[in-house]
């Protein structure tokens, strides 16, 4: 760690003080978010703006160091997402969620893509913006549903199945985008896309088929050993996937998917705190690189895009809930909850760092996530209040 820190020009003491101050700041924000019943992601993004270039209190710490920690944060985010689901749930979710999933993709990817093209961006950047708008935030939505005691509701399976299909769709989308961004010519791009998709299919099949063996192999030993093997395995598979241009994040997701049974639960509990630490760094670093001036330019497009894709998500949720014979109030609850975009939108936007419109995409995604997370939280709580009061109290 020392060489990286010293490479920043300052000594380690200064780096520790700066980092410590920032992390304590993040902790305060996380507490504040908890008190308001919000997810901390928007707060981390705002904090990143404040300490970034041209912000209130720019940091001296090596961007390389924070960047690496942020990349690990993405891997751990995806690992824990993979740990959320069992192979059976994926199959089941895909079976019942395929049609709504396709509607979801068409209705929410298209507005982002169009917006990118209207803004005069390259096709790759516009495709990334489509992805930013497409994927709802499993993290934010799971927290909302749990906080609002909606997990037992009848529209909830519709929401969760949509989230499963989106997460699986990401397993194909991220590598395709990574290949497109790396490819030089059209023929080259087709080849890399084909290779990366084949690699994903193979890893997915292996993970679902032989994941049991991995779970058994990891089951023995202490918590310490399990944490280290998981962390190491995630970095290894992620790194290998990146080498094949499949995107490291997907490698990590598949490692999470491969685990099942008691190990899955233990791993989730062990990796959770580590994920929180590194993911906070990721969100911080993401907006750390945004110039406030760029952010001001994208506020209007972000609001427009949030309004348009808010409407399309509402329609998607409505459609998915109606398929489960849920009535109007439930359809509104599903639609408004799904409006929240979060970690995946940021992950997608960070892929575009090398694209010509990288800075604009980054700023737009940050503003868009800020607007949709707060908008969805407020709206979906409001829908609850609008719904008729219960006819009688249930006494504990």
């Amino acid at each position: 760690m020392r060489p990286i820190l010293s490479a920043a020009g300052g000594d380690a003491a200064l780096a520790f003080i700066e980092l410590g101050a920032v992390v304590v700041g993040l902790a305060l924000l996380a507490r504040l978010a908890g008190r308001w019943g919000l997810t901390a992601i928007p707060f981390y993004l705002l904090a990143g703006l404040a300490v970034g270039e041209g912000g209130l209190a720019p940091l001296d710490v090596s961007a390389e160091f924070i960047g690496l920690a942020g990349d690990i944060g993405v891997l751990l985010l995806l690992l824990t997402l993979g740990l959320e689901y069992t192979a059976d749930e994926l199959r089941q979710g895909l079976r019942t969620g395929l049609v709504p999933g396709l509607v979801d993709a068409a209705a929410n990817f298209a507005p982002g893509l169009l917006a990118g093209l209207v803004l005069g961006w390259e096709v790759e950047a516009a495709l990334l913006l489509g992805g930013v708008c497409w994927i709802s935030s499993s993290g934010v939505i799971a927290k909302l549903l749990s906080d609002l005691d909606r997990l037992g509701n009848r529209e909830t399976p519709a929401i969760l199945n949509l989230l499963v299909t989106e997460d699986l769709a990401m397993a194909a989308y991220l590598p395709v985008m990574a290949a497109l961004l790396a490819g030089t010519g059209a023929a080259d791009a087709v080849a890399t896309v084909a290779i990366s998709l084949a690699a994903v299919a193979v890893i997915l099949a292996v993970a679902l088929r032989w994941g049991q063996h991995l779970s058994t192999a990891l089951a023995g030993g202490s918590d310490e050993a399990l944490l280290l093997s998981l962390f190491g395995l995630t970095l290894l598979v992620g790194g290998l996937a990146e080498q094949l241009q499949v995107s490291a994040a997907i490698g990590a997701f598949l490692v999470g998917l491969a685990l099942s049974g008691p190990v899955q639960a233990r791993a989730g509990a062990l990796v959770g705190p580590l994920r929180d630490l590194f993911a906070a760094t990721f969100f911080l670093f993401f907006s750390f690189q945004i110039r406030p001036a760029t952010l001001v330019d994208v506020i209007a497009p972000a609001l427009l895009l949030a309004a348009a894709t808010g409407a399309t998500k509402l329609a998607t949720g409505w459609f998915a809930a109606r398929r489960m014979a849920v009535a109007t109030a439930g359809r509104l609850r599903a639609g408004t909850a799904l409006m929240a975009r979060g970690e995946f939108s940021i992950v997608v936007a960070s892929l575009g760092a090398t694209a010509a419109e990288g800075p604009e995409l980054r700023a737009l995604a940050a503003a868009y996530v800020l607007v949709t997370v707060t908008g969805a939280t407020v709206l979906t709580k409001h829908v609850d209040l609008l719904a008729a009061r219960p006819q009688r109290e249930v006494r504990p």
């Binding site: 959320e84 005691d149 997990l151 037992g152 989230l163």
Partner: protein
Amino acid sequence: MPEVTETPLPGVGVRHDFTTSAGERIGVLVHRSGRRELVVYRRDDPDACITALHLNHEDSRVLAELLGATQVGEALAAVQQRLEGVAIDWVRIPAASPVAGSTLGQGEFRTRTGVSVVAVIRGDTTFPAPGPEFAFEPGDVAVAVGTPAGLAQFAQLLGA
């Protein structure tokens, strides 16, 4: 018995719900962690529910016991009543048994003792409700139901 519907909740757990005889829809949501939520569906909006209780593992066990306690007692009493005067016995057939090799029909056990052979256990396999053509082998264990006196006679016939 009301029909219980099971709904998987990917990433969360599983939900079971049913309509009570009073017409209320209630459900139990089991989280992966083992935490449970008891939910009651609203009459004005049957898609939405109110979480009545958040239960941890221990709480659920106690609640289940309280809900089931009286029923278990009633069921036990009923079983005992029905079996008043009837006994059940396991009788092993010795190697030198007079009935080894002969069939249930040939033994005429029910006519002679009033005892019914409801099953025969041979090694690891069980033959439930053996017919009159079933032949005993040494080492078999006959599961027999009858009066205590009849069962004693039955054991004698088998040479046990």
